[in-house]
Symmetry: C2
DNA sequence: GTGAAAGCGCTAACAG
DNA sequence: CTGTTAGCGCTTTCAC
């Protein structure tokens, strides 16, 4: 009644364990007949190879580690599902390393047994590797890819944040907005990632390119979190000379802006236009105009990339640019002064205070 | 420059590998001096034991599997962080099994090598085990706990959904509401779980206990998803004899109700009261009244439970009841007719159509 | 208290 | 094509 091992299968069909191993893994040098008998036997006995044993002897653990700052962001969870989907189909399991939940924090990341002796590859979301970590990955010859933001010397997949940010800004500028605010996502958990920085840079650059000097109160930190973004937006909207449009660094932050605007009695898009980046599952419901990207697909690409590395045929070290495109919904419209007079009096607040 | 093994440590301090093993794991029969030397050696060499090797020989893989329907729900991600936090602190790694991403789907769950030969325990979220699965767990003597909804014969942790639902209903009823709608969460991915059912039962039961016959249009399926809930709520609010209050089966569904109400030009809570269950990270920002539970803590409890099982001192098979309590915010108020006349004319819509 | 030896279940050369 | 022989790195009796 114990779990069957490779010996049981070998005995069952009268071959050696080596042959069972070869047959089941699709290796050459096994006659079709034998292979079939082995397969049948294994299936009947309910045999599954032990990852520990094959990991020990073969050096392949059939597992990859996903390193994320936290689980609380839609983008990450979508990537994870994409990754897990293709990995599992290939017989790989997925380890989760949540930095937020890791007491030792990041510095000991690679002293972790998981990453050194348990995973065959690493996929990191929302973080860069340090030079040291990169060297360590190379020395143990471990395929790695980071999702979000290109990093020199490491394979990565992600959108062009600068271009996406500019496109979002162009949309707003084309609608006649001049006073445009930005909610930036800053680093989290001591992670360095360029995503938030590039989007902010796109905001500032687009403004300057149009001869607009961004007022200090038009920039605020949203930390990629909705509640923080709402608070920041509330302050921004109350400031003197508030923006007529806000480009949020992510859809989740954009939701916060929408909520802040509603509470402030502003109509969207008549009084305030809002645009985000992501196309979150909920953006349609919010009527949010956004720059759509597909994290699910990015996860699949990342998974395939490490799988390729594992199977020898490594792809060149480069950044796979994921697609982005504008999805216009109801949260953006002409600037108040641009095509007509601004609303004189805001309607009563809809979300009670 | 290769990764150090137990032999390197043994050589380094002139003892046998057996002693190193004992010393590092805190086993008895090692002199304090030796233990200290071994520790020092291991630290200096940067030695970490191989989970594959110890899993193979000792039978402990130091990993637990978390099985979830999908990652797209806040409750799950919060539980996962709680679980991962305590597990990692104890030297355990966390495997993720996302049913939505698993091609073979659920039936082959336990034919999976992961669960049989890689994980020492299982924590399942939002699903019940079938009788067969339960038997399999028992036969391999694998600690298991399910989070969300009590299940006979398996350890579990979760709130009392019936009681939580009733408390939510009592809050609404006490405010004078009689026409109360419910957005139910139905099973997903073929999973059976009582959570949604119990909350719906609480809704129906509370109504009946107060002599109110629930109209058919007061119940709709929200599938635990915000966009679906929004659509369902929109239809509900448009129906003849619409409810004056809605009890949503989760906060995410409640957000959908809020959005639907805003679009319909209803004021919250003057025209419509909304209550949810969870106290989602975003609920404060939505001003949502809700029944708070703490999924993070539930995850920690689940992790400790399987850890206890692993270390021999198993807790009795029972359901750990997690706390719930009403958090009043701005989304609930007196029923329109109860304390004064209903608003005669709704204000203009704030979210544009 | 400590070491030697025998595996855990599999894969990877070699022989045939 | 297939079997034999060594381990992979650790844990675990059983001696000493």
């Amino acid at each position: 009644m114990t779990v069957p091992s490779i010996h049981d299968v070998a005995n069952d069909c009268g071959v050696s364990t080596a042959t069972v191993s070869r047959a089941l893994r699709g290796l050459p040098n096994v006659s079709p007949g034998t292979r079939e008998r082995v397969r049948e036997s294994a299936a009947r006995l309910g045999y599954v190879p032990s990852p520990s044993a094959s990991g020990l002897s073969g050096g392949r653990h059939h597992a990859v580690a996903i390193v994320i700052p936290s689980t609380a962001r839609w983008f990450y969870t979508a990537v994870i599902e994409g990754v897990d989907g293709v990995l599992r189909r290939e017989g790989y399991d997925t380890f989760l390393v949540i930095l937020a939940a890791t007491a030792a924090g990041r510095e000991r990341l690679f002293h972790n047994a998981l990453l050194r002796k348990r995973a065959d590859a690493v996929i990191a979301l929302g973080i860069d590797f340090t030079a040291e970590e990169r060297e360590e990955l190379r020395s143990v010859d471990m395929p790695a890819v980071i999702v979000g933001g290109p990093v020199r010397g490491v394979r990565s997949v992600g959108i062009d944040d600068l271009a996406a940010g500019r496109a979002a800004m162009e949309h707003l500028l084309a609608l006649g907005h001049r006073r445009i605010g930005h909610l930036g996502g800053e680093n989290e958990y001591g992670m360095d990632h360029s995503v938030g920085q590039d989007r902010a840079r796109a905001w500032r650059g687009s403004l300057e390119r149009h001869g607009i000097a961004p007022a200090p109160q038009w920039y605020a930190v949203g930390s990629f979190l909705m509640p923080q973004a709402k608070a920041a937006a509330t302050a921004m909207l109350r400031s003197a000379d508030p923006p007529t449009a806000i480009f949020a660094g992510s859809d989740e932050m954009a939701f916060g802006v929408v909520l802040a605007a509603l509470e402030a009695g502003l109509r969207i898009p008549q009084d305030l236009s809002v645009i985000g980046i992501d196309d979150h599952d909920w953006s349609e419901s919010f009527g949010l105009t956004t720059m759509r990207q597909d994290p699910f697909e990015q996860g699949r690409i990342a998974a395939r990339t490490v799988l390729d590395g594992l199977s020898g045929r490594a792809t060149p070290i480069r950044t796979v640019k994921a697609e982005v495109r504008l999805v216009e919904r109801r949260s953006t419209g002409p600037a108040p002064g641009a095509t007509g007079p601004a609303a004189l009096a805001p309607p009563p607040a809809v979300v009670a205070h």
